[in-house]
């Protein structure tokens, strides 16, 4: 498995503590970029600006990605454009929310 795929799998273990859905299925991860030195840059968003769990989720993601073997350093960038929309969620996430 490529390092990028390993990172995405690792991120599936980081849950939004309010919704109980992992950040990947929730559609919060916009991009995972790995450079030649194995430095990882994650671009992500949150379901709402000013989410009280902002720092906790970002901290949890950094911590989990750092545990992936071969990762040198992790940087997480939270962006608000494009804004998160429900369409970004996976089918599993929709089902968990009661759809």
């Amino acid at each position: 498995m490529e390092l990028k795929d390993q990172i995405v799998e690792a991120l599936k273990e980081v849950y939004d503590p309010e919704l109980g859905i992992n950040v990947v299925d929730l559609g919060l991860i916009y991009d995972v970029d790995v450079d030649a030195e194995q430095n990882v840059h994650v671009t992500m968003t949150l379901t709402t600006p000013g989410c009280p769990l902002h720092d906790s989720i970002v901290f949890g993601m950094k911590d989990r990605v750092q545990e992936v073997p071969a990762v040198a350093a992790v940087d997480v960038d939270v962006v608000w454009e494009p804004a998160w929309t429900p369409e970004k969620m996976s089918k599993d996430a929709m089902e968990q929310l009661g759809f």
Binding site: E13, H54, D55, G60, P86
Partner: protein, 415 residues
């Protein structure tokens, strides 16, 4: 362990927790005092030391302290600004808490101490207002929520100013402006201005967030603000100029604004992605309907020739059903956020880390919130038929519900 560094959207959660704990104890104590003065409540004699003390414990000790604590948590996350000074926050907490305890004690035991105890409380609240002004001025993009919160803070400032004048009237026998005009405006700006504007403002943040609502319009919120602010100005003006028609117009504007707010909340909730809502949150949403009904009753009562006692009851239920129940419901969502951030934020993403729903017990919540509703209905029936025994029983039930609510919140901290 606390996170090592606080970012601009985080706050030291020990401070909001201190406020909330003080508020919960005041809530329980206020209901105990009301139980002790049941006969006067039933007979509509509200100007007694026990009821004054209970009212200030409920509105300052519970409502205002919980609102302050929530703001220390919510302002950084909702407005993306740091709290100006946490040291001032702790100082402000202790001064306000001491002031409120002394103020409520003065009503009960030493009326001459009102000016001093009221003064200490005012200093504490002024420090809070200064703290919020210094924090909010850093907000880069102001929005309608800023408008609601700033207007509510302005109303709090005016309320305490009027309260201080009332304390000078009572404590030192000075009379600058007519006592009744001061008291009515003090109540109007405290209840409708400070609490309602603040709750409406933060509802625009909390409701979409708790319901995970997306794709709704915010257009109605400007109308809600404009009409509510106009209603407050007209109602206050009617007291100063002695114009009953202006009072009816003011209350009608408040009712119109609240109706739009209720409609807007319904629109937002219908756009939710989270189908199963938490019990505390549903309790808050239900109390919006209660608030709407009480606004309607106030308009109707204003058209009656002798409605003094009716207004006393409307005010009482407005404080209980709209203000207290909304705050209690939101608190049951906010406290788990606080506790989770405190205890689990550094292990987020690790296996075995609980979710927020694991910190709360929905079954106990249903029992507690149902008890609140049954007790409030019992109190309403007791007041309608002037039944002392039913009031005593219902107030005892309400007291038990507040104690259960206190335990329910404290239990979150054991998980």
């Amino acid at each position: 362990m606390f996170p090592q560094a606080l970012s601009k959207s985080e706050t030291d959660i020990r401070l909001p927790i201190l406020f909330i704990l003080f508020a919960l104890l005041s809530f329980v104590a206020s209901q105990g005092l009301l139980f002790m003065d049941a006969e006067n409540v039933v007979n509509g004699f509200y100007r007694t030391p026990l009821i004054w003390s209970a009212a200030h414990l409920l509105l300052l000790g519970w409502g205002t302290m919980v609102a302050m604590g929530a703001m220390y948590q919510l302002v950084p996350v909702a407005f993306l600004v740091p709290i100006w000074s946490m040291r001032l926050g702790y100082m402000q907490f202790f001064i306000t808490a001491v002031g409120i305890v002394l103020l409520c004690g003065s009503f009960l035991f030493y009326m001459d101490g009102l000016a001093v105890s009221g003064g200490i409380t005012v200093i504490g609240i002024l420090l809070f207002l200064f703290q919020m002004a210094m924090s909010l001025r850093k907000q880069q993009q102001k929005n309608v929520m800023t408008l609601f919160v700033v207007a509510s803070l302005l109303c709090l400032f005016l309320t305490i100013g009027l309260g201080l004048l009332l304390a000078l009237n009572l404590g030192l026998g000075l009379s600058v402006i007519d006592h009744t005009v001061l008291l009515k405006t003090h109540i109007l700006l405290g209840i409708g201005g400070w609490f309602t504007l603040l709750i409406i403002g933060f509802s625009y943040k909390l409701v979409p967030m708790f319901a995970l609502a997306h794709g709704f319009s915010m257009k109605l919120s400007n109308w809600v603000f404009g009409l509510y602010a106009a209603g407050l100005v007209a109602s206050a003006g009617s007291f100063f100029f002695g114009q009953p028609l202006l009072f009816i117009a003011g209350l009608f504007l408040l009712f119109a604004a609240f109706s739009l707010f209720a409609l807007h909340m319904r629109q937002i909730v219908r756009k939710r992605l989270k189908k199963r809502l938490d019990k505390g949150f549903m309790f808050s949403l239900g109390s919006i309907a209660g608030g709407w009904f009480l606004h309607l009753l106030a308009v109707l009562a204003a058209t009656l020739p002798e409605a003094g006692r009716a207004f006393g009851w409307i005010l009482y239920f407005y404080i209980i059903i709209w203000i207290t129940f909304t705050i209690a419901g939101y608190l049951y969502k906010v406290v788990p956020f606080l506790w989770w951030t405190y205890k689990y934020s550094t292990v987020a993403g690790k296996k075995g880390t609980p979710l927020l729903k694991d910190l709360i017990n929905d079954r106990t919540a249903v029992v507690t919130f149902s008890l609140f509703i049954i007790a409030a209905l019992g109190i309403a029936a007791a007041l309608a038929v002037q039944a002392n025994v039913l009031f005593l029983f219902s107030q005892a039930l309400f007291f038990a519900a507040t104690a259960l609510f206190l335990m329910m919140i404290v239990t979150i901290a054991t998980r």
